[in-house]
Structure formats: C-alpha cells, structure tokens
Amino acid sequence: MSSTTIAADRPGNADPAVTPFTVTFLIRRFDPEVDEEPRWQDFDVEMYATDRVLDALHKIKWEQDGSLTFRRSCAHGICGSDAMRINGRNRLACKTLIKDLDISKPIYVEAIKGLPLEKDLIVDMEPFFASFREVQPFLIANKAPEGGKERLQTVAQRERFDDTTKCILCAACTSSCPVFWTDGQYFGPAAIVNAHRFIFDSRDEDAKVRLDILNDKEGVWRCRTTFNCSEACPRGIQVTQAIAEVKQAIMRGKP
C-alpha cells in the first residue's frame, strides 16, 4: 500500500524521518455488539515522521487488531471519509502527519462528536446528510440558457462562491460545532456552506428559498461564531465567513 511505504522510499526527507519511532495511540473503541459504553484502548505503532494518522490506523488494523473499524477511501484528503477527533480536534486522518503531532504523549483518536456512534470511529452520517439535503443544495435555474449553450458567468461572479464549492461533506465542521453538539437540531455549518454555494451563484434563481430555510429556528441564527468549524475544515473553507455572509443576505433579503 502506498500508505505504508517506508520513508526510505520517499524523497525529500530530512534524516530524522528515516528512523522509525514508536508512537502510542489511544483509540476510543466501541463495538455495538458487545460494549455498553465506549472504551479507550492503546496501541503502539512504529511510525515515520512523514506518515499520517491514517497510516497508523491501517497498521493497527492490518498488523494488530483487524476489528478496528473506520472509514477511508482516497487517502489524500478529497473524499471526506475519515473525519475524526485527533488529540481533541476534528481532522482528516489522511491529512494529519505524525510530525505535526506531539508524540511524546499518546495520540488520542476518537469518533467525531454529535452524531450517533455506530462502531469505533464510525458514526451515523445520515442526520448530517439530511441537513445537507434540506437546504436544496442544487442549482435552480428555470430559464433555459441562450442558444442551448452554457449560462454565462463572469470570472468575478464565479469567484464570489468559489470558496464554498470546495466542500467535501466530511462533517468535520458540523461535528466540531458546540451548538450542534447540544441537540443536533442545528442545520450545522456544512449545510450552510452548501447553501451559500448556491445562494451566491449568479446562475441560481432561488436564493430566496434557501435564505428562508436558513432563517429558520435551527438556521444561521444559532451560530455563535465559535469558529471551531473554520478551524476544523480540511479544505480551508472560511466557514464562519460564509455563515456571516448568509446572515447578511438574510438581513438584506437578497444575496
């Protein structure tokens, strides 16, 4: 696997990276068929500085305990499968390098918070996607484009919503939000980000509906600007900024 490639194959490594060292991982396990409560379990893994937390999880699963369960696919931060809480912060395991963590202490890994825990690092994503679907995250444009061609859009108009098109629906933001943790009813930053992506798209004709949806009790007004979402977003989306822009648009009554 590319992920377990030893550092010696890798270019650009400073020397310290070539010697492996032992890292302790504390992982919050939960087997729904056995456990009543989640429990912490520790694993020692040989790692290189340039390895990622996902590599460690793979090493544990493949060499020590096959029952360790987590989602992953692309292994380079574009599919959004492996958001988890690493040392108390939401991160993608495949984008978190060992060298960026303090390995003198154990590394804590647990599932993201606020969504129902299913098994080990897996949570039920359905409530998350349900919120996403509710903001009508698709282009609504009733007029046919001229001449059966593309709808025109200036470079500046395209730039307006560029940031929020990057979302990979990993839920790192929503599950880092203290307001979302409270009762799980809040739409959450990810849904707002995806609404923003269409509200500010010059081709879209139904920004009003989305603004109405987010003007709801569980909508943008529940955001308390705690910025956890922006800190957590692996795509570097300025989530709180997007939420602020939606709030402004609601107050203006138009995008």
């Binding site: 729904p32 068929e33 809480r85 599932a111 993201i112």
Partner: protein, 141 residues
C-alpha cells in the same frame, strides 16, 4: 436459513446504536473559549441583575431597608465579589463588541483571533484601573 449466516442479524440492533460519544474535551481555539466565557459571564450577570433590581427596588420601601441591604454590599467579602462581577461584565461587554464586529465589519472574521487578544488586553487594563480603586474604597471604610 442457518442461524449463523450473514443474512440474520442479532436482535439488539436499536438498543445499542444511537449513543452520543463523550470522550475528550474538544480542543477549540480562541473562538470557542471566548464563547464559553461569554456564555458563563452572560448567565452570571443575568442572575446578578435579577437580585440587583430587587435590592434596588427597596428604595421604594424605606431608606432604612435599602441601607441595610446595600450595607451588605460594602463588606470586604462582597467587595471581592464585586471585582469578579465587574470583571465578568467587562469581559462580556468587550467580547460582545468583538462579536458584533465579527458580524458586521467586513474584516471581522479574519481578525477574530487578534480581536480576542485585544479584548483580553482591554480587560486587563480596565481591571487594573478599577480593582485598586474599588478595593481601596471597600477597605478604607
């Protein structure tokens, strides 16, 4: 179909699924901790305000009654409590302004961390000015 087959599932499904993970404390940054403080101070001020209105209302009852109650505010212990209260109000007020700037000033989101440290700095300055003055008043009588 045989019992151990993949198609059959053990019954306990629903009872064990939906549980909210607790786990470690989330390590948020400036934004989260400022909110935690804002929330705590807001609640504290609210409860103080309830009491404060009631005690002030005693001026309608009689000067004596009012003076008795206000007298308790002038004890050294309460004096320290007042420092805490003013500290809470000052933080809540400055951080409230920070939140308002985040919401309405275009550069607010970008500079929220800086503004948090400004809030802390202003809070320290205000408290350095207020505390000695107040404690002298409390302890010199």
């Amino acid at each position: 179909m045989p019992q151990q087959s993949a198609g059959t599932l053990t019954a306990a499904k629903k009872t064990t699924t939906s549980r909210r993970p607790a786990g470690t404390l989330y390590r948020g940054r400036e934004g989260m901790w400022s909110w935690v403080l804002h929330r705590i101070t807001g609640v504290a001020i609210f409860f103080f305000l309830l009491v404060h209105i009631l005690d002030t209302a005693l001026i309608r009852v009689s000067p004596e009654a009012y003076n008795v109650v206000i007298g308790t505010y002038q004890t050294p212990l309460m004096g320290l409590g007042e420092v805490a209260l003013v500290g809470a109000i000052v933080f809540h007020a400055f951080n409230g302004l920070r939140i308002i700037l985040i919401d309405f000033w275009a550069g607010g989101v970008k500079h929220q961390k800086l503004m948090f440290y400004v809030v802390i700095a202003l809070w320290v300055i205000t408290m350095l000015a207020f505390t000695p003055r107040h404690l002298i008043n409390v302890f010199s009588h």
